[in-house]
């Protein structure tokens, strides 16, 4: 169930339509401080259904929408899509590709779609349930997640074992 393509448009600092093609193995993402690397990790977590604004380092979820710069006006929406290879059939759908997309508008409301057909968050969550890719799963790791894995409040660690069971 390989991640083939990530597309961002209006998500955080990615004002323009931007496409990342991913391949097998190890892909490094490099660049100077503040250039937008962690925003890519946020975009993946968001497209997988993340509901907490704090996990996007924001106070409100609408802060994921491009807020403008000294020379550009803010946008009114943010959109991210993830294209997976489903040849292995790991996701229980007939298609050999899974195109998962999420869109949010400044005045509120989130839209989800699976293979370009509108659906609800619940549909996304139940589809991803056994793949290890749920929004809270252990597939995006940064400093706060390291602390969670080791934290004394062990109930967060417990949920990782449940996810793996």
């Amino acid at each position: 169930m390989r991640l083939k393509t990530l597309r961002l448009h209006g998500f955080k600092s990615f004002a323009d339509r931007t496409t990342f093609e991913f391949r097998e193995g190890i892909t490094a993402i490099i660049g100077s401080n503040g250039c937008g690397k962690s925003n890519i990790a946020d975009a993946i977590r968001w497209a997988l259904g993340e509901q907490r604004a704090s996990a996007m380092r924001g106070a409100k979820m609408e802060e994921v929408i491009f807020q403008g710069t000294a020379r550009r006006r803010p946008l009114s929406f943010a959109e991210v899509s993830l294209l997976f290879d489903n040849q292995s059939g790991r996701v229980p759908i007939p298609q050999t590709e899974l195109d998962l997309a999420r869109k949010v508008f400044r005045e509120g409301g989130s839209e989800y779609s699976l293979n370009r057909t509108a659906c609800r968050l619940r549909d996304v969550q139940s589809l991803l349930r056994d793949t290890g890719l749920g929004a809270n799963a252990y597939s995006i790791i940064e400093a706060t997640m390291i602390e969670t894995l080791l934290s004394d409040r062990a109930e967060e660690r417990r949920s990782l074992f449940e996810e793996a069971a």
């Binding site: 169930m1 390989r2 991640l3 600092s13 990615f14 004002a15 323009d16 931007t18 990342f20 093609e21 991913f22 391949r23 097998e24 193995g25 190890i26 892909t27 490094a28 993402i29 490099i30 660049g31 100077s32 503040g34 250039c35 937008g36 690397k37 962690s38 925003n39 890519i40 990790a41 403008g68 710069t69 000294a70 020379r71 550009r72 997976f84 790991r90 793949t131 290890g132 890719l133 799963a137 252990y138 597939s139 995006i140 790791i141 940064e142 400093a143 997640m145 390291i146 894995l149 080791l150 004394d152 062990a154 109930e155 660690r157 417990r158 074992f161 449940e162 996810e163 793996a164 069971a165």
Partner: protein
């Protein structure tokens, strides 16, 4: 449900010893259920002691040792239930040079099952990736991709660029 959880827990526990010893080149570690009589609710406790040190609570470990312990646990979970892909955001920052090497070797061991996207400032990690994406803000405040470099098959020496390239 109880049997499934206990079986998963035991599998992660024995994997944890393997991944921990490969990252720490020895030492001892363990995970235990705080309340073994109630596996479905019990917290999970971690103990870790690098080579020659007394077994201790994990909060006395150093910054780098904590990161390595968390990574060992993460990969022990992956051995039980592989995640199709994994994003690691600057997890190599607290590590010294030789531990960055061991971290990279662990990625190599897992890269056939899991696709890795590694965000890093560390030249050692950059050089060991299969692909490198650069992100930039040529226009202030707006992120874009600079280009993908195929570091290619490890065993083929990279042609030395003509100086000044």
């Amino acid at each position: 449900a109880r049997e499934v959880f206990e079986a998963t827990f035991d599998a992660v526990r024995s994997n944890f010893t393997r991944t921990f010893q490969s990252l720490f080149q020895g030492g001892e570690c363990d995970i235990r259920l705080a309340d073994p009589n109630d596996p479905l609710e019990s917290a999970v406790e971690i103990q870790a002691s690098p080579l020659g040190k007394r077994t201790q609570r994990i909060h006395l470990l150093s910054g780098g040792e904590r990161t390595l312990t968390a990574l060992a646990l993460l990969f022990a979970l992956y051995l039980v239930k592989p995640s199709p892909f994994c994003v690691l955001d600057e997890v190599d920052a607290p590590l010294d040079e030789s531990n960055v090497g061991r971290f990279i070797r662990l990625l190599y061991d897992f890269k056939h099952e899991t696709q890795f996207v590694v965000i890093t400032h560390n030249p050692q990690t950059m050089e060991s990736a299969d692909w490198v994406y650069g992100v930039t803000m040529e226009e202030p405040g707006v992120s874009s991709i600079v280009g993908v470099e195929l570091l290619g098959a490890r065993d083929v020496p990279l042609p030395t660029a003509p100086s000044g390239a």
